[in-house]
Symmetry: D2
């Protein structure tokens, strides 16, 4: 599908006899953040136990024989969305290393913007990398740090790395949660009875019945051990600037941040979109499922009928990977069908949450027209995406972003919509409860709309050289 992709979900729990099962459940709730692979590492304070699998949590971590290998009362876990085609088991997180002072396991959501530079220097000094992952760079830096205490080795490393990161780290007797200085990637703290829990989103607390305590702050390190938890803030204090796509698309609608569910923020974006256009038609149709909250907000605001004009087929299998040409040509029809008796001869408002390449919109509008729609007015509940991300969101190259190369009218023509409207950037900030965007210190990381990058993307120009560096091609491992 033509969407932005999140690059991971993380989870951690300390001091619970069902650590592995609870981690599996937490990862299941976070599955939307990464569906290619999942891994869990547990620790019984002496040894670490590891299971990692390609595929869904619910296909891999529900069996007794898998869970019983994961001994111990502390655990971290990771859901992975692969940015490259390189979906090998050895790239599945968490990463683990036997250091001189004991084992350390790390799960990482995000992307470092200077990993390549760091890696080159490490290799020059004799470090052997097993993967092409940013996360291994973090591990190697920790191993090489000549500070004596583990927490100091970690802080030492944080001062070297740049970019977006939410980390859960497991050592013999401690679970650590870390969020980058801008808080670009999310991480929340919860409690289940006497056990502290870390997760990318609060929905992972709901599934296990844990209580949501608070967000980890930007630049904060939370150290959990037998004595409870303590907070360290090694960086100079700056304003948080979380990734705006968590609000628009990534986070599950039932996860909560700043006292509201993401469903509510998205309904507001739809309502704001209605306020900015005041446009009615015969009926309003969401692109399922991501456009539904905004469509409900739009319909409610403007008192227009909401209808399920597009039906989604939930049975698109996970191995739909070698389709024949015939099947491929059907494209979007494998996933969607139009409710044709509803839309015949109608003027339709079609609502989606975002527009990336525009290729899926083209297919959906074509399908609507073929089934008799008279007019299709496409409304996008976020601003045009014009710039790529480098901190953990998988965006296409700039020249593949429709809004980077087309103006509004060109986009409308490309998609063949009767009309096309985006939510304004100011409208977006209003939907989230701000009067306006603070142009000096923006409240969110929103460079994909504005081009204002919070951190210089050092590796970006060197992207090709990174790939050249991978000189081992292996079909297994």
């Amino acid at each position: 599908m033509d969407r932005l992709k999140e690059e991971c979900g993380v989870f951690g729990i300390f001091n619970n006899k069902d650590a592995a099962s609870l981690t599996a459940l937490g990862l299941h709730a976070l599955q939307h953040r990464g569906q290619e692979a999942c891994g869990i590492i547990t620790c019984d304070e002496k040894k670490f136990f590891y299971e990692r699998r390609l595929g869904l949590v619910s296909d891999n971590f529900t069996k007794d024989k898998v869970l019983k290998n994961l001994v111990g009362k502390h655990a971290i876990g990771h859901n992975r969305y692969s940015t490259s085609g390189n979906n090998l088991v050895k790239n599945v997180q968490p990463f683990y290393a036997d250091l001189h002072d004991g084992g350390i396991a790390i799960a990482h959501n995000g992307n470092l913007s200077n990993a390549l530079n760091l890696r080159k220097e490490l290799v020059r000094n004799g470090s052997i990398f097993q993967t092409t992952s940013d996360t291994e760079t973090i591990v190697q830096l920790i191993a090489k740090s000549n500070r004596s205490k583990m927490i100091d080795k970690i802080i030492d490393t944080l001062f070297k790395i740049q970019g977006g990161y939410a980390l859960t780290i497991l050592m013999n007797n401690e679970l650590i949660g870390i969020r980058d200085p801008f808080g670009i990637r999310p991480l929340v703290l919860g409690k289940l009875n006497k056990s502290y829990v870390l997760a990318s989103e609060t929905c992972a607390f709901d599934i296990i019945g844990a209580k949501f305590l608070r967000e980890i702050e930007n630049g904060e390190i939370i150290i959990i051990n037998k004595n409870g938890f303590k907070s360290i803030k090694p960086f100079p204090k700056i304003k948080e600037r979380p990734c705006i796509f968590e609000y628009i698309y990534f986070s599950r609608p039932d996860s909560i941040i700043k006292n509201k569910s993401f469903y509510e923020y998205r309904k507001k974006m739809g309502a704001q979109l209605a306020k900015e256009s005041h446009f009615k038609a015969d009926l309003i149709i969401p692109v399922p499922d991501s456009g539904v909250p905004a469509a409900i907000g739009y319909a409610e605001e403007i008192k227009n009928n909401l209808e399920l004009g597009i039906i989604r087929n939930h049975y698109v299998g996970r191995t739909f990977i070698e389709p024949t040409q015939q099947i491929r040509s059907l494209g979007v029809k494998l996933k969607h069908n139009v409710n044709k008796s509803l839309i015949k001869d109608k003027s339709v408002i079609l609502i989606d949450d975002s527009l990336v390449r525009g290729t899926t919109s083209v297919k959906i509008l074509k399908m609507l027209y073929e089934n008799g729609a008279r007019e299709v007015h496409l409304k996008i509940a976020s601003p045009p995406i014009k710039y790529p991300d480098y901190y953990g969101v998988d965006t296409p190259n700039k020249n593949e972003l429709l809004a980077a190369t087309h103006n509004l009218e060109e986009m409308r023509k490309f998609i063949n919509a009767t009309s096309l409207q985006f939510l304004s950037i100011e409208g977006l900030y209003k939907s989230m409860g701000f009067e306006k965007r603070d142009s000096a210190y923006p409240q969110f990381t929103d460079h994909c709309f504005t081009g204002e990058y919070p951190i210089e993307p050092l590796d970006a120009n060197n992207k090709n050289s990174i790939n050249k560096k991978v000189s081992l091609i292996s079909s297994n491992a």
Copy 2:
């Protein structure tokens, strides 16, 4: 989940060079009718080619290496929902037999109500059964018929079997579609360029771009060959009486019957439910996804807010089969979560399409209360289910049907709802455009609500003896 289950979807196509791929696509669109297994048989007019698999169509029939084994321009296919735990590959349909006059392949949606009696007599006369399926009884009867022409052997067989059935039959040079005398199970006829197509529902035509021509009538045989198609009606003419659950739940909302989509019928059931109660609350919440159309109808009728108060996790894997006790105890939470900031301290109308055992409703209401709902008014968009089915719908035993053993108030208490309301039987018929139920010749097979069975369920009392008959236990095959 606590639902009625359909026992299959069928498909057939004649004279198309992409017969196998198109059948795979048709089965993919019909996946909701059976998710355990699927099979396709093709014919090149000399030989038959067979692939059958456990699992989804999209996981099994999208690969070139599978499809290229399926040679020939004619094909039939089948999606299976297993009524027993017996999900062996050898039970996967279509069934095939080498008869004296050539091969014959049969895909069957439905259930025979006298299969056991027929089977016993066949075995007594030397027939060897390979499976426990009704469908094999049909095949064995055809093989044993002493009529000389194949079509006569088939008609001979139809006069012996009783129950609900929609059949697609493939022979060397002919594709046949058959619907039982009451038309209990559905079958529709379509055309893709010069190729005739058969399917359980019209959504299978949409995915391949075929045109919907008409329903196969109750008791009708359609014979498709090089010369086009012809219709035979061997039975005395009676009024059709299709299964009412196709309208309430089974068929895909975008499939069309009598010029309307099932989505529209279901929206009408929701609207009728509103008319029968005139009840408003703080917000209306559908049980996703099956309660959504009725909830939209209800909300629109009564001008009440519709909200996504329950969020569904789409990543429940297909191998969620060996959950640990811990995971099992979480029950419904693996699939659903409550949007808690929405429902806190609210009075809620919860809408679902039907109520079977009530066990899922119990869990969902519990979850709503735990997340702060003040009142939960449960509204069911169909009447109470009091009687089991024997013609192709998988219903629990009568004593497991909540409405068979509890009156309305007892049900309300069991579920712990603030109030409980069902759609009336007359309201149900109204939603489908009838003034009233014709008590002499009911327009639908509705015995699950009324106890009026159209055909005597001969085998029903002997059900145990059937199972005893299965004396081979095999973990493979």
Copy 3:
């Protein structure tokens, strides 16, 4: 390899609490009779339990989780060598059928020479065949017999079938062993404590510590039940005429018949070969492993050095099925290597047990010459094979048998041997302790050497029509 192939091994045990494990062991000892697949059916006097697998017994039937599915104190088992490429699980024996009077399972070693005719008639009368196997014909005939007692249905069937067969049959309360009227295929009776045991060879008794009682006689039926065993001989008495290849090649060297091991018969064939030629050379080399007993006999008779001049690689994997062209071109070298420092500049006597197509001999001699052998005198410890078999030995077509199309000198040239010698047919009979071959009533089924077939091979000319009959092509099942 260029060898004749046996078509199966059978086993049966009655009334032993470890029936399944003992059957697995028996089949392991009989593995040389069929390596493609194996199956076991057990019976607890109420139900039958079945496991069948492609591959070796020791890879499939040693795990607790497999054996524990095989409940009951009675069992039969089967090792299969597939004559066609059709190695599907559904063709794996034993065969099972639910008859009116209960279940019946059959394992069959041998081949019927009139199966096609019988099958055609059965299909014409409404029998549905699931496989292309002869054995299913036996099962269908039993099902169709209108005799009332099971043993009479079986005898009824025996009078219809022709060819070579050793059968083990399991019913609720009885285990039956049957050998064809000529005793072409072998079957022996043993006892383990209180349990009677049936097997193709005595080596299957040794592995489980059972005592060898006697051979089942030609045309004899042994019925084993709670009361012990009884013998029925429904056919007119004729002289036995077992397959001579059991002595030359098929049976394991440690199996015993008429008080001698097959190793001893084969050593005698080697000694007789020496007596017929009186030829010495620098050293004697067996083709491993089949030529070793004859080579020991030859060397001992003529006082010549025996040396392991050819070393066999035991690690030829079972999935050596998709070799590249490069690997394929190496042919015999994957399995054998020459001990080159031994044979350099030497005159060598090379001894093998039989010669079929001659293709392997060509490669072995080439390899010997390339490694420096000066002369290679090839001696075959059996007569030239000129005629195909139809009773259970997989022979190539007549025109592929080297001796059917070449005289001795032509064969020598083809193989490029310095000299070539076969054991005489009279010498073969002498090695087995007979003064001479009884030309009126030959003591063995030896038509491959003599062309004297004991039973007319009815289906042989119709072989193509059988294959045409198989009209379902399935990659699974």
Copy 4:
């Protein structure tokens, strides 16, 4: 089985368009040196390509789809016998590392006697180990060396490691072969047309038709590149001292060293054994297959009958890993059966190549007696093993070695032999063509018999601490 185990086979080829296929063939010929896993790395001078598998070469590396992933004209390969139960894919060799100056792949046969000390220091300085293998220590040392040229980094490393090793190393443009200073582990050089080849034994040259040039000398480095090969000898010159077990048991009988096949050395050991005892009996029986060459030598020397009194079952599957108690109790019978009609009431000489724990001998003698042997005289064609190895031979702990804890008469009683004889240490040296053992500078590494270790086994006392170091338990990876 009760045997010593080799710890690996290595192979390498430079500049051949079929490098991967030829390596697969070479590894197939070396399969006896390690049957648990195999791996091949190829190089196209830019990238490296890797396939590694658990199981046999012939089950894994014969398929086109595997071999075609292995691009390039240079390759190394490795067969692995796992010393621990830790048979994970990630431990499969060759090992690979991306160093600053390019990739390097290493395959290693042998064992380092100071790996633990080296590893501890590396970890202390920030190296992250992925495995528990000695070989990774070599790789990490190379990565850390601050010499600038790769060959110097390698030599730097050789001066740090101690023990037995034969290495094949592949870099972008060079293939390197190295043998430890004593030449404990073997390595030979060959040529196939214009391509140089390295292998553990000459049998790997025979299978691909390569010419055997010479042994790599002890302490020698052979560097193969486009310009041919050159030899470097960085160590002070000392006398070679190869592992004597290569002669007694490990190497394939058809491999050649010092102009003779190992078959011939072993026949001589058998003949020498006969000279040391002059003992005859009714017949001589080898323990198959390892005792056969010595038995032929013994029989020929003393003019006594050699007979195949024990028959080996070649079908012992590779997954015979979860046997039931019943199957386990049968022990040796799964692999061997006695040719009982041969040995009944006979006095037997039983010949084997070596005696380790004695447990298998106990079972074989028991089996012989049970089948009627009157006397069994056990003769071992090598001296008593009293000391464990640390340079690449997997020996049991000292207290499990029968000869370490029992004198000759105690051993005879333990095994229940009528008499027991070992080859003398001087006799062993004579069999290999030496007048006597040079006690000052022994010609072979023979500490298992004599206790004279050529290198101090530094890690030996710390063995437990190594295992404690492994703190990650993973069922996959």
